[in-house]
Amino acid sequence: MITTALYLTIGMVTLAALLNVYRLIKGPDEPDRVLAIDTLNINAIALIILLGITLGTRMYLESALLIAVMGFVSTVAMAKYLKRGSVIE
């Protein structure tokens, strides 16, 4: 039963990532694209956790933590660049 639920969840998260890529390509303004990349980071974290459950190992969780930290830092840097015109003043 876990296997079926796992495959269904992987399918749903992959479909969510495809919808985010659609918004990333189409998005009329710059904040839309930054938001789409931020959501893609979140979906990558979810997919890494699902991969860990599928393979029965816990080795990949550190990479999920790294993606979380770097995604937050890059989102804040892009938003600050859009707002001020420079990242570090």
């Binding site: 039963m1 876990i2 079926t4 639920a5 796992l6 269904l8 969840t9 992987i10 399918g11 749903m12 998260v13 479909l15 969510a16 990532a17 919808l19 985010n20 659609y22 918004r23 009329p28 303004d29 710059e30 904040p31 839309d32 930054v34 938001l35 789409a36 931020d38 959501t39 979140i42 979906n43 974290i45 979810a46 956790i49 699902l50 860990g52 459950i53 029965g56 816990r58 969780l61 550190e62 999920a64 933590l65 979380a68 930290v69 937050f72 989102t75 804040v76 938003a79 600050k80 859009l82 707002k83």
Partner: protein, 110 residues
Amino acid sequence: MSPFAEYAISALLLFGGVFTLIGAIGLARLPDFYTRLHGPTKATTVGVGAIMLSSVIYFSAIGEEIGISEILITVFLLMTAPVSANILAKAAMHIGVQTVKNTQGKPWEQ
């Protein structure tokens, strides 16, 4: 593995997946940026939180010890999702992103 743990893991996985998909549909379908900002924050907090909780239950049910990585990722995502949404909304207000037509008031033009 006990059947209760199997039911809990499957239900949490499906709940998290449905929430992530709903957040992405909201990001793709809603009309302007300020409404689009609403969807992915729910996907971040509830969706990834539920998937992470199912991972914790799974690895403790098959006999491994509880690691600190899942809890760290969950706490970090719960803390940073509102911050990034807020700072993105501020940036969008600063560069004047278009709203939908029947938005009432423009508080950033005072």
